[in-house]
């Protein structure tokens, strides 16, 4: 057999194994994280965005269907479950701090969540987006599994919603630090809470990288926003 065929055969085999995509996912993230460290942890560089673009280009070039990629990446994806549960530990450690800010949190949750939803609907409508795109846009600030459920209930496209959720998360995580610094917000609780409401888990991951108090408030915000939005939508769809 000639060597070129052999290389092609090996590639054809590897392309279908979870091993290759798992390894590339880890590697892409490490490259992204390395860039993040290189710029002294500047928020403008997002390890998730770098890793995802890198991997997106690879699977497009190699014509790999996303489900095949996910076969390997699912091992990383799966850890989101135990990681979500583990947020209980910093939450309980900071419980008095969280309880003391209960009223500001509740008010900020309602105001910020409503702004995220209605501003997006308004802009999309004015710019002439399709109806299903607008419906898919509504739950974009909610954590992925809840957002996909909501999207389905209100007549959006759950998979498009998943993409918009990620986009919102990455954008919020990149924008939050420069924006808050620029506007002079110094309260870590307010900064963390705002990014948790708007940018769910990706924003929370970012907040924990910046400061533990910000991370804790982001985690509370993410959980509350998911729970409240899910219940409000369930209530409304039953009334309608």
């Amino acid at each position: 057999m000639n060597p070129i065929n052999e290389v092609q055969d090996i590639w054809a085999y590897l392309q279908t194994t979870p091993l290759l995509w798992l390894m590339l996912t880890m590697m892409a993230y490490l490259v992204g994280f390395w860039c993040f460290e290189k710029v002294k942890r500047s928020p403008i560089v997002s390890p998730v965005a770098i890793a995802a673009s890198f991997l997106g280009v690879i699977i497009l070039i190699t014509d790999t269907p996303y489900p095949v990629y996910f076969e390997g990446a699912q091992f990383v994806h799966f850890l989101l479950g135990p990681a979500t549960v583990s947020l209980a530990i910093p939450l309980v450690a900071n419980f008095p701090r969280v309880r003391r800010a209960a009223i500001p949190m509740l008010a900020a949750l309602i105001a910020s969540s409503a702004t995220a939803i209605f501003a997006a609907i308004f802009i999309a409508q004015v710019m002439g987006a399709s109806d299903e795109a607008i419906r898919s846009l509504i739950p974009k600030s909610v954590t992925t599994p809840i957002a996909m459920g909501i999207s389905e209930q209100i007549g959006g496209l759950p998979s498009l919603t998943a993409g918009l959720v990620v986009l919102t998360g990455i954008l919020g995580a990149i924008i939050v630090t420069p924006l808050m610094n620029h506007l002079g917000f110094r309260d870590w609780r307010a900064r963390g809470f705002a990014v948790g409401v708007t940018s769910h888990g990706i924003g929370t991951a970012r907040a924990f990288q910046v400061h533990e108090v910000a991370g804790v408030f982001a985690a509370v915000a993410m959980a509350l926003n998911g729970l409240v939005t899910a219940f409000v939508v369930a209530l409304f769809s039953q009334l309608l």
Binding site: H77, P82, M127, P145
Partner: protein
């Protein structure tokens, strides 16, 4: 190492508990979020826990953003729609996210003043 395994198994156990409860009651929230609520209750009661639970949790949380990479790559499935309506969707996402961040932080800070829950110590950026 055994202690880390114990802590990890403990976390998976709560995820399982949450998933089972959500299915049983039929509420529209993800199993891990219910597991998180159960674990808050458990830790709040000062119930026994694995020795390295805190360290294991810190390890998972420190690289939380890695765990979102597989889902983020999923955007490639929507390239055609992004080409079609990309500008609109992107504008809507960017503008509404910036507004929601500002409104969220501002409401929080105003309510802090009104309720007197002013930031103390570590809560304030130096």
């Amino acid at each position: 190492m055994t202690e880390i395994l114990k802590a990890f198994t403990f976390l998976l156990g709560f995820q399982l508990l949450g998933t089972a409860a959500v299915m049983g009651i039929g509420v529209p929230i993800p199993g891990p979020v219910a597991g998180l609520l159960f674990l808050i209750g458990w830790l709040g009661m000062n119930a026994p826990r694995p020795k390295l639970l805190k360290e294991t949790a810190q390890g998972l949380i420190a690289h939380l953003s890695l765990l979102f990479v597989p889902a983020a790559v999923g955007i490639v499935q929507h390239l055609d729609r992004l080409v079609l309506e990309g500008k609109i969707l992107l504008t809507a996402v960017v503008v509404s996210t910036i507004l929601a961040l500002i409104v969220g932080a501002l409401t929080f800070v105003v309510m802090v003043r009104l309720t007197g829950a002013l930031p103390e110590g570590e809560e304030l950026r130096s």
